[in-house]
Amino acid sequence: MARIGVFVCHCGENIGRTVDCHAVAEALGQVPGVAHAVDYKYMCSDPGQQLIKAAIAEKQLTGVVVAACSPHMHEKTFRRAASSAGLNPFTCEMANVREHCSWIHEDRASATAKAIDLSRMMVEKVKRNVPLSTIRIPVTRRALVIGGGIAGIQAALDIADGGAEVVLVEKAPSIGGHMSQLSETFPTLDCSQCILTPRMVEVYQHPRIRLMSWSEVESVEGYIGNFKVTIRKKARGVDEDKCNGCGACTRACPNKRIPSEFDCGLGKRPAIYVPFPQAVPNLPVVDRARCTLLIARSKGKKDACMKCVEACQRGAIDFEQKDRFVTEEVGAIVVATGYQLYEIGRDQGGRKDLHGYGEYGYGTIPDVIDGMQFERLASASGPTAGRILRPSDGREPRTIVFLQCVGSRDPAKGIEYCSKICCMYVAKHAMLYRHKENGGRAVVFYMDIRAAGKGYDEFTRRAIEEEGAEYVRGRVSRMYRDGDVIKVVGFDTLGGEPFGVDADMVVLATAMRPQPGIESLAQKLSVSYDRHGFINEAHPKLRPVETNTAGVFVAGACQAPRDIPDSVSMASATASKVLGLFSNEMLEREPTVARVDAAICAGCFHCERVCPYGAVTHMEVKDRQGNVLKVVADVNPGVCQGCGTCVATCPSKSVELQGFTDEQVWAQIQAFLG
């Protein structure tokens, strides 16, 4: 026989003003199975909790209902109190008579009636609660970091410095990400590579970091503390153990006219290449689609070129290499896959709602470039060795027009968000250009200047007031080539008149978008993403680097447009989360998970098909001789997150969600409606 205690809280005046708490306690005292019902001014206070603990002992209560605020507020508090008095914490529940009753109703009679109903519903539920124990799962103290840009590098270093092992996976041939392509960084104008490359080397040399470049995550199984990740090591065409990075092969390759990805197509590279001189690891990769030898072989012709093989003194070139699969066991995963830029007037990678900006002539007018291309031109290690030259004729431009918000903040073009970094880097570009080109004219078209950040507003003001950049508030409607110049036609909304510039070069500050393929990675990790493909954080304010999947964290521009300081802060935050997780011997989880009754389960596996987490496995039921009688569903409690979708789907009702069983729900319905 159940002996339930009901504790009605006045919450000072918050509940008591509208709900007659004493009447609620009295009414509940009449409910069969309720052994004790009282009301008190503040249940969550120390004396209030003592009241509950004392009653549990004195009245030998088997369950507790606290009619007070939302369980999101104090469920933990009261469960802890119940537990310390010797009761199983999961036999304590809360009836929400504050947020869902006293605060939203004025009429005392109906609010009191509702409070009684809500409390009775909980009493009936608690009568059917069974003692549950928290689930304990082991933790593998090893982390996977996906993405080797600045966010991934920072996360990997912080985790490794904290004492845990890290597997860092990067899909490009080298780590470094977009930051390695930048010339200088705002607002301090320090050289990007100078601050980044030491960190890259640190990653490479760290005894606890295993770097896997030219690799991608193939599949993810498991759950917090116990992930099993399969990584595809793409065929490099070069034996990593034999190669010493001398570069003889890249010099020998005769096919040196391939547009370099690192230089955004402004420079050239050979078919066997190291993406940039400071690459980590310093290993070349064979471009299989462009290598003369591999093209010939694929057509069944005889080997046309062996220059790199001949040049390599260590016999490291291996064209026969195949993709390899490596399985790593990790306890936590950090997603730091970064961003790509909005492509103007070109294909948006399958996104039909993004239209591009044909009117800006990108891809047709060679001297219209994007911000990253400008970075490469301005970079000392870039194709022009740091000189700003026009891609069309190599001339120094005397006037450059910079366009902000190209792709961003334009719902008509598919992206309504602000890309956050463009205002800053455009100011930087204008400054860099003015520093390099004496007397050159930098005209910036902007919508607003958003320079919130330490030293940011000062930086944009400096560009305008000290460095002579001309800022024009307005949009550009059209750009076209007229002889040697690009006619830029816009409107100065502050001056209230049309504004035209004859530019030698135009730089488009294009929107930041998540990396292509982020959706498929997110699906492998069971994390959600917004309609732009940015990974969703668990809570926008209070859990900014966690995702909805326990043990998976997010850092950098794959979550939203981010600049370097933001990405690094997020990365360090993920590292602290990961190390916090690893500081546990065992993890404890609420036991709100699904359980299968093998005796009833017919093995239809509808549950397996609807489970968002892949928590349902197959289990053989055997007789004493070991003969398989039937195969039934089984739920891995470590993977199950307790949504209960399987329960509502199961045709034979052989799966139940602990803490939210059908019986408990029906009891609540009945308690209300009779």
């Binding site: 999101h72 869902h100 009679a109 109906s110 994390v527 209960g644 329960v647 009779g674």
Partner: protein, 148 residues
């Protein structure tokens, strides 16, 4: 229910099945924002709309509910990634079934209310109460369910 008497004297009894992460939290927000609403609903908290068995809705009517609300996270916002999609499919079918059975559609309200939509929750509740009030007591179903 001992609610205040209105002109018609009919106070609908409405059971609301909501998910823990979006709508329950949204209803909490309505509370912290002190948004006044009709006192006719009783919330049953479940982890996810995916857990809400259509049988709960039937059961509620059988037990004498005049209306039912089912509400969870917006599509793409599910705490459990996809539970609300399963719920959406399930309740699309349930709606057809109920209308086939002759249940007035106004008695069943499906909605998405996020954790930040306290005001929307108030509107959902008030709207449902208003519609059910128009329908009147659901005695025909109770009679059909008989002595269950």
């Amino acid at each position: 229910m001992e609610g205040t008497a209105t002109a018609t004297g009919f106070e609908p009894r409405i059971t609301a099945f909501v998910c823990n992460w979006c709508t329950y939290t949204g209803a909490d927000l309505a509370g912290t924002s002190r948004l006044q609403m009709a006192a006719n609903t009783r919330i049953v908290r479940l982890p996810c709309t995916g857990r809400i068995d259509p049988a709960f809705v039937i059961k509620a009517f059988e037990r004498g509910a005049d209306g039912v609300i089912v509400s969870g996270c917006h599509p793409a916002d599910c705490h459990y990634t996809a539970g609300n999609y399963h719920a959406r499919r399930r309740f699309a079918v349930l709606r057809e079934l109920l209308s086939f059975m002759g249940v007035d559609e106004r008695r069943v309200t499906f909605s998405w209310v996020s954790a930040s939509e306290g005001a929307k929750w108030r509107d959902v509740v008030n709207g449902a109460v208003e519609r059910v009030r128009e329908c009147g007591p659901f005695e025909s179903y109770r009679a059909l369910a008989g002595g269950v």
